[in-house]
């Protein structure tokens, strides 16, 4: 049913309908409306709601619930995600299918509560699937898919959507009903769990002879999860009659000469910029990266094979190196096509359509 709803509230309702058994929660702006709504929904759905004492503990309790064989969920932002850092690696290393929503926010110092992608981009090496959504409908639909992807691949999934721009945006969303979600997402059946009839040890100590092999397998499986992400997206489209892109989304003609590459809700403003540029007879296109991990390098190189110039717009920076998405794009292309990196929108700095259009002629990396 379509309803006008705040993004965070829509996410909370969809999470509840995915039937998690345990939800550890810790408040941090701008993700807080999600656990607040989940606490209100608890009596209706009956999940265990744990008001833990930190984000570190939120993900730790999610690990406990998951390894005990239950579906789980948590949400966070910014410093909270950074506070979880060591636990992120632990969750993915143990191959636990945890789903977490990240309401993207800048990180300090200086302190800033507004949006950019620095928090989750800084966690890109943590071994999670990372999906960046461009609007609230896509975020809600991606959460449903995330559980299926996680439980098929034994990998945790981070669903990222932008603080305030999306978390607090009130717009129309079509939230699938309980029965529809139940028929898409079967109950969680863990292969291994803390079972007294079959006692096993999880998260143990691996000496050099074995450790690297585990990392290699994790890497291979994360790369291979792109296939599952695509399959689940197709299945979702078939079931719900709504296409949500799996890895990449192309906008504009496939032979555009200048192609913008971006992620998240910045893509919506860039779509408008592309439309306006095209009415001005400028041959612009857009490629949105939805899936940052695994990075769809081959698909991206193919999608950009006709581009003469690429402009990467992103709300993050690897300080001392440059825009992270631009680094990934350059590494994926293996060719001479010029790639201009535009770092913009940090800490909530507005990125209006007019400013995006101005980067069309940019010759070198810049901060917008």
């Amino acid at each position: 049913m379509k309803r006008m709803m705040e993004g965070s509230i829509a996410v909370a309702h969809i999470v509840a309908r995915c039937r998690p058994s345990v939800i550890p929660a810790y408040p941090i702006t701008p993700s807080t409306h999600i656990p607040e709504e989940l606490s209100r929904l608890q009596p209706k759905y009956g999940y265990e709601f744990i008001t833990v004492e930190s984000e570190h503990s939120a993900l730790s309790a999610a690990i406990g619930a998951s390894v005990a064989g239950s579906r789980t969920f948590t949400a966070t932002s910014s410093q909270g995600l950074l506070y979880m850092h060591e636990v992120l690696f632990n969750a993915s290393g143990m191959r636990l299918p945890i789903v977490m929503v990240v309401a993207n926010r800048a990180i300090g110092a200086p302190l800033n509560i507004w949006n950019d992608w620095q928090d989750s981009i800084s966690q890109r090496d943590a071994g999670w699937i990372q999906l960046y959504c461009k609007n609230n409908q896509e975020t809600a639909d991606t959460v449903i898919q995330a559980y299926k992807i996680a439980e098929k691949t034994d990998l945790p999934v981070m669903v990222c959507f932008e603080g305030y721009y999306l978390t607090h945006e009130v717009c129309e969303v079509d939230l699938p009903e309980q029965e529809e979600i139940d028929s898409f997402l079967p109950p969680f059946k863990p292969k291994l769990f803390l079972d007294t009839d079959n006692p096993m040890s999880f998260g143990t100590f691996f000496p050099p002879k074995y450790y690297q092999g585990v990392r290699e397998k994790h890497h291979d499986d994360l790369l291979a999860s792109a296939g599952t992400i695509s399959e689940v997206a197709s299945e979702f489209a078939k079931k719900f009659g709504r296409v949500q892109h799996a890895l990449l989304e192309a906008y504009g003609p496939s032979d555009a000469e200048t192609v913008f590459v971006t992620m998240g809700s910045l893509a919506e403003n860039t779509e408008v910029a592309v439309d306006e540029l095209r009415t001005e007879k400028k041959n612009a296109g857009l490629l949105r990266v939805k899936c940052m991990r695994p990075f769809p390098a081959e698909l991206l190189a193919k999608a950009l094979s006709k581009a003469k110039r690429i402009i990467v717009l992103e709300k993050d920076v690897s300080v001392g190196s440059g825009g992270v998405l631009a680094l990934e794009v350059r590494a994926a292309l293996h060719c001479e096509t010029p790639v201009v990196s535009v770092v913009c929108g940090l800490g909530g700095k507005d990125v209006p359509v007019g400013e995006i259009k101005k980067t069309f002629d940019a010759k070198k990396d810049l901060w917008l």
């Binding site: 265990e48 744990i50 930190s54 570190h56 309790a61 406990g64 619930a65 998951s66 005990a68």
Partner: protein
């Protein structure tokens, strides 16, 4: 005790008090026990792939989060209706008194249904015996060396800090008094909510004692009043043993970590042991509910 659930084959040091503690905890609680273990000696010596010494389901995550992982486990079990399983979080003193202290406090404040066992060997033994919040006054460690006179501060009073959370059961125990430990574990197992047992467990390496003196040292800590055995049940404090206090000198002299002590420091420690015992007896006689002093 029918079967050994902390199975031989771990590579703890000979005479390890903590490994003895693990064996007693698991064998007493039985096979319907699920363990969430913090990083530390007991994890490192018992889980080296492809082997594991744990005869019960076991999870290790990181150093600071055993109580949080166990919170997730115990809630999942409640939702699944697995009521017969006992969830046990296990951490050393570094994990429990220090890095995981906030996590422990959170789980106690929520009164999560678990037993938390802290094996207290009074230092970060796993990383080479550094000073922790549980290291006693004057004890030399690799970061409170004898060159500075050992540790300058007293040990944190974990049991009373825990009791101030108003949890149903807090106890101290020692691997020198296994029947007492066993009794407390069985009592804790029969209860619901958060139960904490702090077990004094000498580290032969860190305390610089011979392996065959481990149990004797553990007993002398109690007999000198430097480790007191007690319970705080629903806030009510009771001493489990009131030995006639022996001089601390013999206990301290047995251990390399106290080798550098001056006569004045020993007198100071002696006075501390005596005064502590007096206060505990006063508390016991008063009937004050420790969990309700809010």
């Amino acid at each position: 005790m029918a079967e050994d659930l902390f199975i031989k084959g771990h590579n703890a040091c000979a005479g390890c008090g903590c490994a003895l503690c693990m064996r007693w905890v698991l064998n007493t609680l039985g096979k319907d026990t699920v363990v969430a273990n913090a990083t530390g000696c007991m994890e490192v010596v018992s889980t080296q792939y492809p082997a594991s010494s744990w005869g019960v389901p076991y999870v290790h995550s990181v150093f600071a989060n055993a109580a949080a992982v166990a919170s997730g486990v115990t809630r999942a079990f409640r939702k699944q209706g697995r009521s017969k399983d006992t969830v046990v979080a296990i951490g050393g003193d570094g994990s429990t008194y220090d890095i995981g202290f906030g996590t422990l406090s959170g789980a106690m404040e929520r009164n999560e249904d678990m037993i938390y066992v802290c094996y207290d060997n009074e230092a970060y033994a796993n990383t080479g015996v550094q000073r922790s919040g549980a290291t006693p006054f004057a004890s030399a460690t690799t970061t409170s060396p004898q060159e500075i006179g050992g540790k300058h501060e007293w040990k944190k009073n974990l049991a009373f800090i825990a009791a101030a959370h108003g949890i149903p059961y807090v106890a101290t125990a020692s691997v020198g008094f296994l029947p007492d430990l066993e009794k407390k574990l069985l009592k804790a197992k029969a209860m619901k909510g958060f139960r904490l047992i702090v077990v004094y467990a000498p580290c032969t390496l860190g305390w610089r004692i011979p392996a065959d003196k481990m149990v004797e040292v553990a007993r002398m800590a109690v007999n000198t009043g430097l480790w007191n055995l007690f319970e705080i049940e629903d806030g009510k404090f009771s001493m489990s043993a009131k030995p006639t206090l022996e001089p601390v000198d013999g206990y301290l002299r047995m251990q390399g970590r106290f080798k550098h002590l001056t006569a004045e420091q020993i007198r100071f420690i002696q006075e501390h042991a005596r005064a502590t015992r007096l206060e505990l007896e006063k508390l016991e006689a008063s009937g004050v509910n420790v969990g309700r002093i809010l």
